[in-house]
Symmetry: C2
Subunit: 171 residues, 2 copies
């Protein structure tokens, strides 16, 4: 019987098509384990960005060649879906697929680690507390929002805006 998720495949009848192992952690790292990929996912989830130029404008200043490479890799990995904008045919939209939406729990844990660890974090303490108090609920809200084309922080119908409105109504 399997002793763990990353046991060797030596001697296994299953041939490895590509990649270093069938460990699920390694699988994830091969798909988005670099310093840039998850920033694109973050931009979509938290800030509602969708286009090349918007990703490029992020504070962390990714180079266009690197951004193009990451978008292509994540599209190939089934995390992103590329679609032309019919209204403005210069534009291309990148949306998260269901597989991409499934990265939201990873993103939330990563954000919590960073916020807890970085003494100079830019994350607001009250929001961190909110997420910590009801992680599953917040992940569900995030996921629903992004699926509907909204975002966590940007826009009148963002998750943050709705939470603020609910608080105001309750008192």
């Amino acid at each position: 019987m399997a002793v763990g998720p990353c046991e060797s495949t030596e001697g296994s009848p299953v041939k490895r098509a590509s990649g270093r192992s069938h460990c699920p952690i390694n699988f994830g790292l091969e798909a988005f384990g670099d310093p840039w990929s998850l920033l694109v996912v973050r931009d979509i989830v938290y800030f509602g960005k969708r286009t090349f130029a918007e990703f490029l404008a992020s504070e962390e200043a990714i180079a266009p060649s690197v951004l193009a490479a990451r978008l292509e890799r994540m599209t190939t990995a089934g995390i992103l879906r590329r679609s032309p904008d019919l209204a403005d045919r210069r534009r291309v939209r990148y949306d998260l697929t269901e597989r991409g939406l499934a990265l939201i729990p990873v993103l939330v844990e990563l954000a919590e680690w960073g916020a807890t660890t970085d003494p100079a974090t830019g994350a607001p303490a009250d929001w961190i507390a909110l997420v910590r108090a009801d992680k599953a609920g917040m992940v569900a809200r995030y996921t629903e929002a992004v699926r509907e084309g909204r975002s966590v922080f940007v826009g009148d119908d963002s998750v943050a805006a709705r939470v603020a409105a609910a608080r105001a109504a309750t008192g």
Copy 2:
């Protein structure tokens, strides 16, 4: 008021010592956002590895120079603690600090994403189900185990062994 965790720091009195931004996600990615760092953490948490040679022997075949660089970076980041082995002075132990233990939730989510996404995953389905059913509980078990020098999968007193024993006793 802060609109989100990654707002620009332009014009802020806070000077950025290093790094691309104060976004907590970016902070995490700068500390361990590469294809190798989390594999070392995985080796510690899931397999109870602690030494250079053990990390080097992993299926994914990291190069020694890269491993040395990652260990140093994670030690500097406060994720790992480096300590000489008093019994065998050739050996050096790498243990997770509390900050490193706090990465376990990230690792668990990453593993779940990989296991769900990879059709040829090496992760056993029953274990994935177990983690999904009680994520917070399993993270607590993992953390306690690693803190005590045990691991998730390897050893007589691993988390998996204890779960199996509890199951056998209950029925």
